[in-house]
């Protein structure tokens, strides 16, 4: 079976009659005296989506995006240009533009290629072709019928099926020559329920670096409809969320978006190199309660946030960010690692060849504790229990972060009470994790639907955590 490198060479280089020798020539011309690093990033990506609405598959879309980005780095400076034509003249033109950021001088010499060997973090396949078009349509139609028969109050079902096949090839002035073949699939189901003129919505989905048969195993896709319908019906009965600072229990899995916002972004190397993060200069200090260990792990098999290599060819790793409450490490790409005098951590990512690399998260999660989830609920006199979220945002300088609950319950005297309407939770990243008082033994990762935005670039990520109790978090409801 061909490996990632041979597939990338065949798909990207061969049609343009490019070879690693020709690329070495282009790279060599970028290596002027003041240049610390340069790379060429080739990408060929195929994307397909199908969507159902009002019980028919109305739309399908197929997209091809191909191109090459050229990056030249000198200290804190980056020159960048790209072309959506993968041919030598366009590559050379982009290279000339990118290198314009540094002064003229003699060209340096390139070290021998260090070829990054293949990995088995996820299968080498094209998920667009993994099942027939008829089967794709059938999944969507079935999930629609299934959701509607679950409850007569379901008046609207939207479902989508998305598959992406992304092949990248990167050569860099440090000798790295690497390639990756990245499948990614996702399915979403959202419903609207109506009862006595009141409308509510619910949605659920899943995915990963796999093929579309992921959804077919045991008709797994129907469980997304179950969850979407359950949430919508639950919300029909929801009461106003409370307003104010209180104890908050977060469920396992997707609520780990808390970690992504509260500490994740603030631990990205670029903000810390610039000193603009609330966590800048705090390595070795306590930033979370004892017992809290947070990692960013790009190596998990088949996960949405996983990568075999990052977009600079660095192998991904399991990086301990916070260990037993103490800040241990930032997440780095090559440039920020070099400027901060540390090693890259395999977190250099870019949305596409037309975007700059930044330090980004992969799968960010907190390790399990010892408590049973029911023990944690039993420990709370008054508060809320939030099990599902819609997304979040952070100001990494002040550390203030938000995330919005889409399924939550009141907790009174150690027991779950009524469901409450969606509400935004707000906290301060610098101390939110120091207020964690109980951690469950039920670590779970999300279902594979997360997308993280930074400086206008979106990348797929994962989050996870065990059930946790935070003694003080502000809940933005309207109730008293």
């Amino acid at each position: 079976m061909p490996d990632q490198l041979s597939i990338a060479e065949e798909m990207i280089l061969a049609p343009a009659e490019l070879t690693d020798t020709k690329l070495a020539t282009v790279l060599g011309q970028l290596l002027r005296p003041s240049v610390d690093y340069a790379d060429l990033y080739f990408q060929s990506s195929y994307f397909e989506s199908w969507s159902l609405e009002e019980s028919i598959v109305k739309a399908g879309n197929f997209t091809i995006d191909r191109g090459v980005g050229v990056r030249v780095i000198s200290g804190e400076k980056t020159g960048f240009a790209y072309s959506d034509d993968i041919i030598l003249p366009a590559l050379t033109q982009a290279a000339n533009a990118a290198v314009g950021i540094v002064k003229q001088g003699d060209n340096g010499s390139l070290p021998a290629w260090q070829v990054r060997v293949s990995h088995d973090r996820y299968p080498i396949l094209n998920p667009l072709q993994s099942i027939s078009e008829q089967d794709k349509i059938e999944i969507l139609n079935h999930v629609d019928q299934y959701a509607r028969q679950l409850d007569p109050r379901i008046i609207q079902v939207n479902a989508s099926l998305v598959a992406a096949y992304d092949v990248i090839y990167v050569v860099a002035s440090d000798g790295v020559l690497a390639a990756d073949v990245r499948p990614l699939v996702r399915m979403n189901v959202s419903v609207i329920a109506e009862h006595h003129k009141k409308l509510e919505s619910g949605s659920f989905g899943g995915g990963g670096r796999s093929d579309l048969s992921l959804f077919l195993q045991d008709q797994h896709y129907l469980s997304y409809a179950d969850e979407a319908v359950r949430t919508a019906l639950l919300n029909l009965d929801a009461v106003e969320a409370p307003a104010g600072t209180m104890r908050v229990i977060l469920g396992p899995g997707w609520p780990g978006v808390l970690l992504h916002e509260a500490v994740g972004h603030g631990l990205e190397g670029d903000f810390n190199r610039r000193g603009s993060s609330v966590f800048s200069g705090r390595i070795g200090e306590r930033v979370a309660a004892a017992g809290c260990t947070v990692v960013d792990n790009g190596t998990l098999p088949d996960r949405r946030g996983s990568l075999g290599i990052d977009d600079e060819g660095t192998p991904t790793q399991n990086t301990v960010l916070i260990e037993d409450g103490i800040l241990k490490s930032y997440m780095q790409d090559k440039q920020n690692a070099r400027l901060m005098g540390v090693q890259p951590t395999g977190n250099g990512r870019r949305e596409s060849y037309a975007d700059l690399v930044m330090p980004r998260m992969t799968n960010t999660y907190m390790l399990a504790g010892d408590y049973k989830p029911e023990e944690i609920i039993a420990a709370v006199d008054k508060g809320i229990y939030a099990v599902n979220f819609a997304g979040g945002q952070v100001d990494i300088t002040s550390g203030k972060f938000v995330f919005s609950a889409s399924e939550a319950y009141l907790v009174e005297n150690g027991k779950l009470g009524k469901p409450v309407k969606g509400a935004t939770l707000i906290g301060n990243g610098a101390d939110a994790l120091t207020k964690i008082s109980m951690l469950g033994d039920d670590l779970a990762l999300d279902q594979g639907v997360g997308t993280c935005g930074k400086d206008g670039q979106s990348v797929p990520v994962g989050v996870g955590q065990p059930t946790m109790l935070i003694d003080e978090l502000t809940v933005g409801g309207t109730g008293t």
Binding site: W50, D84, F403
Partner: protein, 454 residues
């Protein structure tokens, strides 16, 4: 800096001809493959962006993006495809891919091109004045960004750090064509400068920004204004406190008021209405705002950020009242959503353009005086807006107001309510209109929101 700026997309006539050729190829190819109707959008955008931080260049980035997006109809079955590779072979393959998809999608009687008589034939008689390429070298752009950041540092000694000052200039040429024989194309430019600064004192760090964006460089705010505004905004946030949970009036400052009214336009969009995914179902003809509120769209505003002669369906754009004396006049409709609802398109495929909100003659200070005690909201965080129910809960920061005066900065709180109630509770719209986005509104004073804090 030795690099020449590549040709501006807006004025590169060779590229324009190439894009026109591609649209013709797509339309011909689709007919050959059996499509009964076809539409195609084709664009080229060029430009660059410089980012300066702490006085030094951090990024010089050249952009050149092209793409073709194709939709084909086989009677009432739809397929679409897009490609960044505009070679004849790739475009042909994309048409094939779209046609292949249409073999599997279901018959949707409402799918298809816009009605021919609604298309913007003769659109080129309009001069919207949208194209003003900026003959600025990257070296000069870097100097401007450095100067802007320096104004910020000079403004206050508490400005200790920077997340950078950016200048970007882009120009684009877009063609839309369909098999009714409509071909529309026009060039546009957009230039922007933004500055992000970090203020620091014993209480910690705060970051804020200022920006300007315009069709012509002449309409940009001055470098001094942008740098000093970013600095002033960051410094004003230092020593922010929390406030107790309470129910008070609030003012949405003009730049966040835009988002509040944006939620209104999302809720009356045809797509949300026919999906029944809106808290404003059946709202046409209903009183949603107080009687003094009027919203008007002018899609032909010269140099307007949202101006366009035709919409995403090729339909002629027109001036229109959306809210008159507090009453909703129409849903925001594309050809498709209009057919679904048994109505006529409003020429809004792609959304509304240049909304003018009528204001009072009061400035922000007067609004603060009128409010007496409450919260002036300067920034909102998160996505906590439920378009189906109108439930609204978002993170906020801003300033506490009492006795009609700003007292201190506030952070780590939320504001919550329901949009329908919030729209009805609007008291006054200030005359401090922010025209940088698509909705031109002043600050908005409204009653009775829940603040969650200490």
């Amino acid at each position: 800096m030795t690099v020449e700026i590549s040709e501006h997309a807006a004025t590169d006539t060779t590229a324009h001809q190439e894009l026109q050729r591609i649209t013709t190829q797509v339309l011909d190819e689709a007919v050959r493959q059996g499509a009964t109707a076809t539409e195609v959008g084709c664009s080229l955008e060029t430009g660059y962006n410089v980012n300066v931080r702490m006085g030094e260049v951090e990024v010089l980035e050249y952009n050149r993006d092209k793409g073709v997006a194709i939709t084909v109809y086989f009677d009432h079955c739809t397929g679409s495809a897009s490609t960044s590779d505009t070679s004849a072979a790739a475009v042909s393959a994309a048409v094939t891919a779209a046609c292949n998809i249409a073999r599997y999608t279901s018959t949707d009687p409402y799918a298809g091109l816009a009605d021919k008589e609604r298309l913007a034939f003769g659109y080129d008689a309009l001069d919207l004045d949208l194209c003003h390429p900026w003959q600025l070298t990257p070296a000069a752009a870097i100097e401007q960004a450095q100067a802007c950041e320096q104004y910020g540092f000079a403004f206050d000694p508490r400005i200790k750090n920077s997340d950078g000052c950016s200048l970007s200039t882009h120009s684009a040429y877009r063609v839309y064509a369909n098999s009714h024989g409509f071909v529309g194309a026009y060039p546009t430019t957009r230039h922007s400068i933004s500055c992000v600064l970090v203020a620091e004192d014993g209480s910690g760090m705060q970051r804020d920004y200022a920006y300007s964006s315009a069709r012509t460089a002449d309409d940009l705010f001055s470098l001094q204004y942008i740098g000093e505004e970013a600095a002033a905004r960051a410094v004003k946030r230092l020593q922010a406190k929390r406030v107790p949970t309470c129910k008070v009036p609030v003012i949405f400052a003009a730049d966040v008021a835009r988002g509040l009214l944006g939620s209104f336009f999302s809720a009356i969009s045809g797509g949300a209405i026919y999906r029944r995914a809106s808290f404003l179902l059946d709202s046409v003809g209903e009183v949603i705002f107080p009687a003094h509120i009027n919203f008007t769209e002018n899609p032909h505003l010269p140099r307007g950020s949202g101006s366009a002669p035709f919409d995403g369906d090729g339909v002629k754009t027109v001036q229109r009242d959306w809210v008159k004396d507090g009453v909703v006049q129409s849903y925001v409709l594309s050809s498709y959503s209009a057919r679904k609802l048994g109505l006529q398109t409003t020429g809004n495929a792609g959304g509304v353009r240049n909304i003018k909100v009528n204001t009072s003659d009061k400035d922000l200070n007067q609004l603060i005086k009128d409010m007496g005690e409450g919260l002036l909201i300067a920034e909102l965080m998160g996505q906590g807006v439920n378009m189906v129910t109108g439930d609204y809960s978002r993170g906020a920061s801003g300033f506490w107001v009492s006795q009609g005066q700003v007292q201190y900065p506030v952070e780590e709180i939320t504001i919550a309510g329901n949009l329908k109630q919030m729209f009805a509770n609007i008291v006054t719209i200030g005359n401090d209109v922010d025209t940088r986005g698509n909705i031109h509104t002043g600050s908005i004073l409204l009653d009775g929101m829940t603040i969650a804090g200490e």
